[in-house]
Symmetry: C3
Subunit: 402 residues, 3 copies
Amino acid sequence: MKIKLLSFAVILGMVSASSVAQEFVLIDNEQGINVGNWSISDKDVQAKGKSFKVENTVLKGGKQEGSQVITISSDNFSINLSPTRGMGILSAQGDGIRLGWDSPVNEVVNPANINLESRGGIGWLDGFNEMMVRCGFEWTGHAVAADGMMYTLHGRAGNTPVSKLIVEIDEQAPYTITVKGLIKENTFKNSHLETWAGLSYVPGEQSFTVHDVVTNKGDYTRDYQIIYHSNYGQPILQEGAKFVAPVKEISPFNDYAKQGLKDWQTYLGPTKGFDEMVFNIYPYADAQGQTQVMLANKAGDKGAGIAFNVQELPVLSLWKNTDTLKQGYVTGLEPGTSFAYPVTIEREQKRVRQLAPGQSATFTLVYSLLANKQSVDAYQNHIKAIQGDRKTQVVNKPMAYE
Amino acid sequence: MKIKLLSFAVILGMVSASSVAQEFVLIDNEQGINVGNWSISDKDVQAKGKSFKVENTVLKGGKQEGSQVITISSDNFSINLSPTRGMGILSAQGDGIRLGWDSPVNEVVNPANINLESRGGIGWLDGFNEMMVRCGFEWTGHAVAADGMMYTLHGRAGNTPVSKLIVEIDEQAPYTITVKGLIKENTFKNSHLETWAGLSYVPGEQSFTVHDVVTNKGDYTRDYQIIYHSNYGQPILQEGAKFVAPVKEISPFNDYAKQGLKDWQTYLGPTKGFDEMVFNIYPYADAQGQTQVMLANKAGDKGAGIAFNVQELPVLSLWKNTDTLKQGYVTGLEPGTSFAYPVTIEREQKRVRQLAPGQSATFTLVYSLLANKQSVDAYQNHIKAIQGDRKTQVVNKPMAYE
Amino acid sequence: MKIKLLSFAVILGMVSASSVAQEFVLIDNEQGINVGNWSISDKDVQAKGKSFKVENTVLKGGKQEGSQVITISSDNFSINLSPTRGMGILSAQGDGIRLGWDSPVNEVVNPANINLESRGGIGWLDGFNEMMVRCGFEWTGHAVAADGMMYTLHGRAGNTPVSKLIVEIDEQAPYTITVKGLIKENTFKNSHLETWAGLSYVPGEQSFTVHDVVTNKGDYTRDYQIIYHSNYGQPILQEGAKFVAPVKEISPFNDYAKQGLKDWQTYLGPTKGFDEMVFNIYPYADAQGQTQVMLANKAGDKGAGIAFNVQELPVLSLWKNTDTLKQGYVTGLEPGTSFAYPVTIEREQKRVRQLAPGQSATFTLVYSLLANKQSVDAYQNHIKAIQGDRKTQVVNKPMAYE
């Protein structure tokens, strides 16, 4: 099966910056390729490092019919992502610890079955269950009717099936695996943003890198926004779990969140009626702009970290949705160019960025599973080093009202 | 073909209340199963009763591409239903008599091609042609903009492809065939209703049972509504056809229907410009809450009956759409928890029900083809027995105005 | 491959008015046929004229997954059209000259992935890249909220997958190839227009005929509108390119277009910030109502012509979208029953036509590639002959304001 399917893929030797990689084209709209079920392992490419497997599966049933999921796995770690849903990362897991959460939406919903305009522009919630979903790029944030249209919740990228999908495997140690998909947000007269959304993984590691390049393919300068909506539930999230970050400024998203300012660094257990509290954070970074944030469990022996650069992603939304388990017990650590306000507010407050014709913006985030106390401590110490003795300003007033 | 496809299905021995059944899984989102074209007959399962066949077909062409239809047939009766369209029943037929009607929508439209929000929230009409379509469960009734969203006409269930689809065949006489599908109305923060929508049929009979179980899978009490929109056209519907029911109270849905109160028990032939008249009915029932209603042709030798329980389904909408044949000459006998008013009115008038966390509601309806005078008379006599000497109150004023 | 696929097609001998044709059914919703990848050539049907090939391809990847494209080709000409997108013509090409244009929408977007209601009713722009797209038939023109609904930009036909698709090849010289698809715009209580949308091509020619029959299948008189939105970019469109037509009256679509009245017969090169100017034209025709219009390049040795009948299509919209290449450098020559104003204005100004129950309207347009100076001159001379010495009235005031 494997070998037969490989014969459909176009196999090209590709020279990258540092090494030669084997390239497998799983989807290509120009060449008429959509391979479907497919897999490859270290043995197929004669890699001599850690064992690994990359598998593509076409899902069946209900609203997920036809959705594809890629699973990248090695001995002690695996990652699931969906090319059909804008390369969103469904979950990752290692050492029995899951990065991700349980949404009432328990299918990988095919965007053909989603109407982003429904329920007053929040149809995005019909598909939301990812560990990481790209909210962008043409716009992001809460839904708002403006400019004669509805800016639907969190934009279109997360519900766009990729037009190209490529798996690359480096031919030299450490045999890095890269999966990248092309998201086209193309609308005549309105948008011409194309994004190569990528994920790289070194077999054996318990972290992976998200690397995106969004390009304005048009002849006019265009706005863009992005929020990397990164979400964690059990087992890391629990009563007494901690949010750790080098924080320059934190403020409540709205009046409801004001009461959460007193203990923004810790979490409640599943709490009926809690709904959600959101905090707007400006993180500190090191001299190169690098920073990192972390969620750790109460005991401090399980955690999830995200490292990013504040020049690329200057703000962080902290979304505490510690409602009941079935309602969705989850927190979002969301590096972005924007907060989650509607685009109208983000424009007013000058957080909407622009791309000149042909210009690209890149975003690199490293997601880590911290599977033991040592890893959690090390990650936390690095965060503390970034903070140093710099103060955290706690602002009591929301910066905007929807 | 048959045998090969069966090998894809997970065959489990299942113990039900009264018998052992063979179970065939045609769709399972968790196991990655969607069998597609498939069939089974009494010979395949060594049933010694009446002959039967159950067949699943994937449709092609136009807006129905990919829709599936299950046909259950025995010597003198057959039923068509679509798992892709929320287990809606397309038609049934026996002795040359069709239960169903002719809609201008003459395809089994795949919900991926329907926008429920279109035309101001009545996109549901782009797919409506069923003999019975479930209008619910999160909401039902006429479209209304409220709560910052559009409650689209008759809800989402009828345009939801099932996530699981199971065919069960009892291993003992009378070898009852059950087809059941799982409808998920799951939206983060909004809805977590899951419904097993089932249909049971005993080979050789000219009736079948609809049995649904809707469960609130969430942690919050949620509203639900359901209307079993059951629709009949020719040959039973004709000039002089009769609606027979044990009626406690009848009132016009709106001012236009007032003029129809004088002859609500009979039907016009196809009538240009008639459009539709709707009547709100509270039926009488027996001591156990059981009741039944019937449409009979003029001669009283062809009919369609629906039996249900008023504890489950306390109200009945009578929809007289005796417009021209091509416009859709059809009447709806619609047992429900609600009338067809918008959810806002149904809420005000306290007809919207609720399910506590984990709670289920069940609905059982028996649909009968009455293929001769004897059957029609017997069904009518039973209705008269339920009515007894109890009065019918005819109310002239609509209970609400949209 | 070819032979095997042919076995799926129902091969019928069909008697047409003038000749016997072989008929190949590629899609039929009633028979459950959707052949998919398929091809046939002159050799397969033992045609003794010019060589030709007709090929149907199922596209892959991104938002075009599952879209089908038919390519008709002979030695020096080829045509691409998409049955999935309402028989829209993607492009045609001959002698190195392309009829068509480059849209930022660079996929053949499957309508299942389009929401016509998005962006305030202009979701149509998410798929627009055709050389010719049918804008109709229930309504056309700019989006407008009226009658409690949104009349979305340019109607539904162009985003409707055909329910039937037939390829016919005449058995006698010149072995005319006809491809026709059935577009159903059926909505209960609202619309019952069905259109056979056809294209005929004689192998070896550099022109083709569009022939559509739209029928009101319902029992009520219904409005209809159609604009044949025919679009050309490079290489014919260029700075100094000319629009040539027998013009009785021309007026600006809106105030912005007023400034373009002085040089409406010529084009600018790609011009940043130009956006679009539209002109409303009433063409002159010959005694039989036949007329023709043309776009020619500056040198007058490349052109594209459209011939039609003003009894069928009395008006022409001239759409000059000479913006930058990447924004979409394109002009539309758009014969229609209506101008591009919203249906509300078209109704007021009495340009919306009606079909009685069962009535059909037919539209015939001949599209020509003019590949050299001789062809361009001949086409232009014919246009001049139609104009004769009749005056062109240039009206300065738009006939309506949106």
